[in-house]
Subunit: 357 residues, 2 copies
Amino acid sequence: MLHAVIPAGGSGTRLWPLSRSNHPKFLHDLTGAERSLLQSTVARLAPLADADRTYVVTGTAHATPVARQLPAVPDRNLLIEPSPRDSCPAIALAAAVIAERDPSGIMGSFHSDHLIPDEARFVETVRTAMRLARDGYLMTIGLKPTAPETGFGYLRCGDPLDGGMVLREFREKPDKATAQSYVDAGYLWNSGLFVWQVSTFLGELARQQPKLHDVVREIAAAWDTPSREELIGRLWPELPKISVDHAVMEGAAAAGKVAVVPGDFTWHDVGDWDTLAEVLESDVDGNVTIGSGEVLSIDTTNTVVVPKGGRLIATVGVRDLVVVDTDDAVLVCPRNRAQDVKKLVDELKARGDRAHT
Amino acid sequence: MLHAVIPAGGSGTRLWPLSRSNHPKFLHDLTGAERSLLQSTVARLAPLADADRTYVVTGTAHATPVARQLPAVPDRNLLIEPSPRDSCPAIALAAAVIAERDPSGIMGSFHSDHLIPDEARFVETVRTAMRLARDGYLMTIGLKPTAPETGFGYLRCGDPLDGGMVLREFREKPDKATAQSYVDAGYLWNSGLFVWQVSTFLGELARQQPKLHDVVREIAAAWDTPSREELIGRLWPELPKISVDHAVMEGAAAAGKVAVVPGDFTWHDVGDWDTLAEVLESDVDGNVTIGSGEVLSIDTTNTVVVPKGGRLIATVGVRDLVVVDTDDAVLVCPRNRAQDVKKLVDELKARGDRAHT
């Protein structure tokens, strides 16, 4: 069995006005599945990890909705960070807590807000990663590029293993020309999905980030005791804000300790209303409706309509448009400007509008 | 002094979702004036008719909001039709009631839902019409065409009078080519604004529509008595549905009894969101906001945004669009499809959706 760790953070501002600081995208049903992205993530991992082996690392602002959305996950598996410290402290704390309970255990780290329609292939890929993780590799899942995307990091692979390859190098998000050269050279997209033995990871953490290692081990040792709150409250604020990629994975790759499993499944970073709609089912006119509210469309094509405010949304003569209705805000923008929804949120924040952000 | 009669009916479906069957456009503030179109109409007529001489003819569905919006107008001047019978019975009833109170009085009939920005010229034109009405003409106000509109009737004028012309003929709404020929021939638009002595009008009514005349006279004689309700309830349903144009004005014109005063004021039939916005002030980017709700626009031009639902309306990257938010419905359509809002309302009615129509 796997210990499945789900860091649940980020606000998803490009999915405003549904996604808010205090209710970010992973808490929402964005697919009509009648469960949130977080709940879908837990369900997808169920063949690998039961609720007792499912962990969520989240901030104080989201602890309550996370707990309510996942009633089967034990309290002691909901790791609440006193303040955000980027991904390394979050993942390291989870690894250390798991190591206390299952020193030879294998954990995976999974995004809370991604869509992976082909669940069977995803599970198979994770199982392959678990097998190689037992050989002492820090495993990352690589995905075959379908385009020279500049929004992803890339993986330069080396010697073959049974079911994977040793990783030679992580490559940061490239520019367009560089991305094309990566695709031509057979590099894979870095999914950010990791699998490893907790002992392997904590060994690399001790080697590269000894102070961070010692702090999370100290907190983890007290996790299931009355000292947890005092300890984490005192020690956590002193931890650096650092990603697991920079803090551990890059150094481990340089030492030949990272390997890649190529994933043969489609995978969607639900970034904005346009890309979200692309992976959902549309009607004959190309219109995607997200949510079960009332919609009336006449001569309307290729729209994304999100009736989440309890109102009728009516359109006539429109195309390629996003219309989102929530209790306190309405968004209208063209699909090809969906990235710019972030600008609206930035402007609202600049105005000090806490109600709508 | 004038007796000002305002028939207040019609639903204004092209101004949906603000305008509804039970709360049509004349009851709404569509201009940011902080008063409804009906209240603006009464205010515009104030130099001509005080509240005691202001009359509204309306249906049972709108009697309550009309009464509340016009607290200064006496109860006995709010004429409530038991059922809609088009414009002739409504105007005839008002004429008959006024004749009971002021047999030599002059009345005018004015639209409840039009915009006339130049109020001084409007008042001056009505005064000219009142002067000619004293000579025994049924007066209509004609407007100089600015384009070969097919949505208006036209007036073919004849011999000059002091301040006006005798009307030779009403012409129905024409096709485009005919409209152009009318404009070239100097025809005027028919505003549908009438002024006459009630005795002149009732005389023509008796000549052309004797039964209708007798019924409204009988009801009017009992108006300020306890018999009003019983009489109107019994007699009104038997009246024909007929417009004042067909029932009286066309026949009167043929008899040389109609004259025209040319109006030198701009005049707007607030038909749809696009034409409404054209007469309102826009910001530097051509955006018109109707209402005082919160709007956030980035890279947005030439839009009509109506925040009447208490929500923030946010747009990014849109142009030439109408966005209307109300308590229970959101409309999005291009400005050049504003006419087709009627199709949405027709579809809602076909579905039996009473809540949104």
